[in-house]
């Protein structure tokens, strides 16, 4: 098997798209191609990550459409990967396998989602298709409701306060405010969202005990990465970043089926597998992008991945260890909370953000002391399909 490197990255602005889904994906892909400087070299495969185009945008077979618009026909291998909100990292994993096996040399992975083409009820409904059809969906279960039930148990067991959840949102909004591609570039304060006189009007319940600012926005956006064999990577313009490890695991579809519903077993297993492949440990990681679709998830994932002991993630947060400049900065890009969450694209955008950090190109939100190792968790369903990635600067 060959080592695989990321040689180019690109991303659109996140938020409410001014462009069609395909145009967004073309722009992100073009950015990655220009960033790598591949010149006349042929792209062998295109893997597209998307969750809802057939429902929300009336388009299916998205990878064929992207290959068409990028004039990469007829030689290019292509397919669309749908793995819920973990589609992005899944598509990168397909790219990794293609290059590592020798099946392809240059692979473009592009994630894109245009969710605001439908209204919020439709968007909530569409994401709730991830739940168990007969045991959850028919009761009106949505992803925020699963997160709400998870949060209540977690708070009771580990002594988390609403302030801890708010601290995640405040940190990630502060980070995202410095990221010009983020969806919500609005710094928020504890007074504004929790303790001040108007706080609870600004921050109503979504699914108790989760409030509006505990949930990520519904975003449009596209991101892309270009992969190449590590031995070729130095021919290109930018500092290569190696995909050192990837791991994945699949948990029960219905949350009620898990022996301990506060455990995110698939997160733990995916992380363990990614670290084993990379021959690295949590203590070696200098920057992480975790899937904070809900504030509680950043805390719970930081524990399951081995960065903190179970039940102690919120204490590290309190001590400021997860801020930019802290011991382990988490979500310096703003995370899903502020950068945004175009569902099928998110896993690709996390990797784009880590590559910028490992190259030292993240600008205003760059983690200091040039990080060498990055880590991402892309979380599908309510933890029923999880992909973890370890990246290493250089080849």
């Amino acid at each position: 098997m060959r080592d695989v490197a990321i040689i180019g990255v690109g991303s659109t602005q996140f938020g409410r798209a001014q462009w069609s889904l395909l145009k967004m994906m073309c722009e992100a892909s073009h950015d990655a191609i220009v960033d790598a400087g591949i010149g006349e070299k042929k792209i062998d495969a295109v893997y597209v990550a998307n969750m809802g185009s057939a429902r929300n945008n009336r388009m299916a077979g998205l990878s064929s459409a992207l290959v068409d618009r990028l004039n990469l026909y007829p030689h290019t291998v292509s397919e669309t990967i749908e793995n819920g909100p973990a589609s992005g990292a899944s598509a990168i994993k397909h790219g990794l396998h293609s290059v590592a096996s020798g099946f392809c040399d240059l692979v473009l992975v592009c994630g894109g989602e245009r969710m605001q083409e439908v209204n919020n009820f439709e968007a909530t409904e569409f994401v709730s298709y991830l739940s168990h059809r007969y045991a959850e969906y028919v009761y009106g279960v949505t992803l925020p409701s699963l997160a709400g039930m998870f949060t209540r148990l977690y708070m009771e067991r580990y002594g988390l306060k609403p302030e801890h959840l708010a601290m995640v949102a405040i940190k990630n909004h502060a980070n995202g405010a410095k990221n010009r591609k983020a969806h919500l570039r609005i710094p928020i304060t504890m007074e504004g969202i929790l303790t001040g006189p108007d706080a609870l009007n600004n921050n109503p319940w979504i699914a108790e005990p989760l409030r509006f600012f505990d949930c990520c926005p519904v975003s449009d956006g596209a991101s892309a990465v270009l992969l190449a064999p590590a031995e070729m990577a130095k021919q290109f313009k930018k500092t290569p970043v190696r995909i050192a490890g990837m791991g994945q695991a699949t948990d029960s579809q219905a949350v009620q089926d898990r022996p301990d519903p506060t455990e995110l077993t698939a997160v733990r297993m995916a992380a363990e597998r990614a670290f084993a492949m990379a021959k690295l440990a949590p203590k070696d990681i200098h920057v992480a992008e975790l899937h904070d679709a809900f504030t509680i998830l950043e805390i719970a994932e930081s524990e399951e991945c081995g960065f903190f002991k179970k039940g102690e993630g919120h204490k590290a947060l309190e001590r400021g260890e997860t801020k930019i400049g802290g011991k382990l900065p988490i979500n310096p890009s703003g995370g899903l909370k502020s950068r945004g969450h175009p569902v099928g694209n998110t896993g690709v955008s996390q990797i784009v953000e880590l590559v910028l950090q490992l190259r030292g190109e993240a600008g205003d939100y760059q983690v200091p002391n040039q990080p060498q190792h990055g880590f991402a968790v892309n979380f599908g369903g309510f933890g029923n399909n999880v992909v973890a990635t370890v990246l290493k600067r250089g080849v």
Partner: protein
């Protein structure tokens, strides 16, 4: 209108599972007989949801996960004004949703 929610009892080992999987989680058997999800149990966790999907013309719904004395866990709606984690509840069947204009029935839990 379905008046029960069915769990699956493995005809080989007797294990009751809900929701049903293709294989019995205990013995990998593939034959089951239906048994109703019913009786009393303990509320493990709950939420009141204000951001609803399609088909709901209400301000909020209340959802919970219940550990039933019959040995399975079930997610359902709560008809309880002030739910408390750990409280005893009883399973009933009621309307839980409308899909394409048709009523869907399912588990509704009340306080004991």
């Amino acid at each position: 209108m379905a008046m029960t929610v069915e769990a699956a009892k493995c005809t080989n080992c007797g294990k009751v599972s809900y929701p049903m999987h293709f294989y019995c989680p205990a013995c990998r058997g593939t034959k089951f007989e239906p048994v109703p999800v019913e009786g009393e149990g303990k509320l493990i966790t709950w939420t009141r949801v204000y951001a609803l999907p399609l088909d709901y013309a209400v301000l909020y719904t209340t959802l919970g996960i219940v550990e039933l004395d019959m040995g399975v866990r079930a997610t359902g709606q709560l008809d309880i004004t002030e739910p408390k984690t750990g409280q005893r509840v009883r399973a009933h069947i009621g309307k839980v949703r409308e899909i394409n204009g048709k009523d869907v029935t399912g588990l509704v839990f009340t306080a004991v």
